[in-house]
């Protein structure tokens, strides 16, 4: 099967190609391709400077500065908070299990719920399609950097989610809203940087709105469509080149949920997503266990590839960039999005949600992304030269050679399919559900940012939501390279403004953490026995 035009043009911008895109679209020759090229030609010149700025490479290297910016911040937070992500994980698990939740708080948002919602927003195509990109372009070694980025990213999440709870806004009617817009504005004002705080908050909100349309929406719709085409017969499928059908159906469902307020659909998805997550992980484990003899070799390749590249074009740097970039895209640590979901939790100590939020990059990146990478590596879909053990580089595709030139979600699907023949169908369902739940979460993040900019009223919210639905159709139907490039850049740009704020506000987080840990050690934080209201049973 050939890589579809839309798929390529969605992924190509994700790893730094530009002009090839319009050409690719033009070669496609179909109606949508010419629309794509037309939109690209209009949007491109306006957005290119911004995209070039965000993904500019550090002189003399291939490393985009934004990746270094995020990973440096994660490393600084890790050291500044004394490796909090390793010390406090057992306590985070106790918090999630409700050991520190007062029975009086029954009916309020629990740590578990805030975490579960944040995880369903994060676990998505990044874990399935993104990892395939990382491993096929950066080699298995990219996995090592992904794991490292996940572990360091836990400290970034800790910082932003603690602040998210601390500076949230509790309205009179009982609604609770938080996130970077709130802590950048309020937190920075508290330490005397009112104007800078406002500027950061506005810039963050603008990027958040754009990212919610792109990475949180169009990318998801596009990849969901791609997988639906695979399972309905590939190029011969009825859906092939009819992305607008998938897009329209998804847009209608999204419309029903976010505009029509039909919460039951969202609720069903929210219940199915964890189930699909467990099923996905279970299938990965089945593949790994069935090939347990290759597990050692796979890990050896991950470690060796991390430092040599194992034949990948970019070598060490190639593996590093892909690993860090796809991991960040997947776990969103330092980006600020998760702080919005985490901030509604019921707790007396904001730092407790910070601890809990650390589990998110761990589940997302260290566990799920690694499982995907192992399956791809073990399955043998990436072609290796038997003589040298190096991977065969496909210059034209810009990635490791694969049977049928697969990439993205299709590659992951083929890797699972090579061991469990029926799994691509389950994966198809999982991809659609993950895409859907990510869209619901991002539509919420986006609307919060939008209302921060344009006012919290019905009309402004409705305009945003209608645009959001429109982008679902566009995402699945056409390959808007320049638009998506821009939105991908916006996602990472959220991290620029968020992290500047985090540097200013991290002493506040440290004070919160130190005082909480002292109280915890001194036995001042009450631990509760399981009660019926907290989900236990007295029977």
């Amino acid at each position: 099967m050939r890589v579809s035009g839309p798929l390529l043009s969605f992924f190509v911008p994700l790893f730094f190609a530009g002009p090839a895109l319009a050409q690719e679209a033009a070669e496609e020759g179909s109606g949508t391709a010419s629309v794509d090229a037309w939109v690209d030609s209009i949007v491109g010149p306006v957005t290119t400077p911004f995209v070039d700025f965000v993904f500019a490479q550090i002189p003399g290297t291939d490393l985009p500065w934004i990746v270094l910016w995020l990973i440096t911040a994660a490393a600084i937070f890790t050291v500044y908070f004394g490796f909090v992500q390793f010390r406090m994980v057992p306590h985070a698990i106790q918090l999630v299990r409700g050991h520190y939740t007062s029975p009086d708080a029954a009916g309020e948002v629990t740590h578990f719920q805030a975490l579960a919602t944040a995880v369903s927003g994060t676990v998505g195509l990044g874990n399935i399609a993104g990892v395939a990109v990382a491993v096929s372009v950066g080699g298995p070694g990219a996995t090592f950097w992904m794991i490292l980025s996940g572990l360091l990213g836990m400290a970034s999440k800790f910082t932003e989610c603690t602040l998210g709870v601390k500076y949230r806004t509790e309205y009179e009617d009982g609604r609770v809203s938080g996130g970077p817009m709130h802590y950048l504005k309020k937190g920075m004002a508290e330490i005397g940087h009112t104007t800078l705080g406002k500027v950061l908050a506005v810039c963050f909100a603008v990027c958040c709105v754009l990212a919610s349309w792109g990475g949180g929406n169009m990318f998801q719709a596009n990849q969901a469509h791609s997988q639906l085409v695979v399972i309905t017969g590939g190029d011969a499928s009825f859906l092939a080149d009819r992305g607008w059908i998938t897009g329209l159906v998804m847009a209608v469902v999204v419309f029903l949920v976010i505009v029509g307020g039909i919460k039951s659909i969202a609720r069903v998805t929210e219940k199915l997503v964890p189930f699909m997550g467990v099923l996905y992980l279970g299938a990965a484990l089945v593949v790994i266990i069935a090939n347990i003899d290759q597990l050692g070799a796979a890990f050896a390749e991950i470690f060796e590839g991390a430092f040599t590249g194992l034949g990948v074009a970019g070598g060490l740097i190639g593996a590093l960039i892909q690993g860090l970039r796809r991991a960040t895209f997947s776990n969103e640590a330092g980006i600020g999005s998760a702080a919005i979901a985490h901030s509604a939790v019921q707790t007396r100590h904001p730092v407790t949600e910070g601890f809990v939020s650390m589990l998110e990059p761990f589940i997302d990146t260290v566990i799920i992304c690694t499982a995907t990478a192992l399956v791809i590596t073990i399955s043998g879909v990436l072609q290796q030269d038997p003589a040298t053990g190096l991977y065969v580089w496909d210059e034209a595709a810009g990635q490791i050679a694969t049977a049928n030139d697969l990439s993205g979600v299709e590659l992951t699907s083929a890797a699972f399919g090579s061991r469990i023949t029926w799994f691509p169908y389950v994966l198809g369902l999982a991809v659609v559900l993950f895409a859907f739940s990510t869209m619901i979460s991002w539509s919420y993040y986006g609307v919060k940012a939008w209302c921060f900019l344009f006012g919290d009223n019905f009309v402004s919210e409705l305009i945003y939501k209608l645009l959001f639905c429109l982008f679902v159709i566009l995402g699945a139907a056409v390959s808007l390279g320049a638009v998506l490039d821009f939105s991908d850049a916006s996602l990472f740009a959220m991290g620029i403004f968020n992290i500047v704020g985090l540097y200013f506000l991290m002493p506040i987080v440290k004070r919160e953490m130190t005082s909480y840990i002292a109280k915890l050690r001194g036995g001042e934080i009450p631990k509760y026995a399981k009660t019926a209201s907290a989900g236990g049973s007295v029977a």
Binding site: G107, T117, G174, Y444, Y445, S533, A539
Partner: protein
């Protein structure tokens, strides 16, 4: 000696267990404790919007349960001269009812026959069956 306490599990719809328990309490000189449970699991999955509104909804749910369901019944029985108190809590109904029974030192539980006949009850069992199985004090199932 303090009066015996009869606990009534009141779902807000079925008055039969309340009325029957009131009659028995009067005859025995016992006090009533009316328990209404708002179904809630700390492990339920919510959308980001539901997270935002949770505190507000909780307030509304409690308010509604109090003013529309529980308080009118309490007032009516109080007016009839019965000593009565009420509890409204969030949680899993069976477990919460048993918890309140233990806290109050109730000597009997009155519960209606399962009003729902949905598939949920067939799979997970009803509150009534749960109480019948798990209660450590006599439980009266009122048709």
């Amino acid at each position: 000696m303090a009066a015996e306490i009869f606990l009534v599990a009141y779902d807000g719809l079925d008055r039969n267990p309340v009325d029957y328990a009131a009659t028995r309490a009067k005859a025995n000189g016992a006090a009533l404790c009316l328990v209404h449970v708002l179904q809630w699991s700390p492990y339920a999955f919510l959308t980001p919007e539901e997270l935002e509104e949770r505190k507000m909804r909780r307030r509304q749910e409690l308010e509604r349960a109090k003013t529309a369901l529980v308080d009118p019944v309490v007032a009516e029985l109080q007016a009839a001269g019965l000593p009565i108190e009420s509890e409204i809590r969030f949680g899993s109904p069976t477990a919460v009812i048993l918890e309140v029974a233990a806290e109050k030192g109730a000597c009997q539980i009155f519960v209606g026959r399962s009003s729902k006949s949905g598939i949920e009850n067939k799979i997970f069992g009803s509150v009534t069956l749960g109480l019948a199985q798990a209660a450590t004090i006599p439980t009266v199932i009122v048709p």
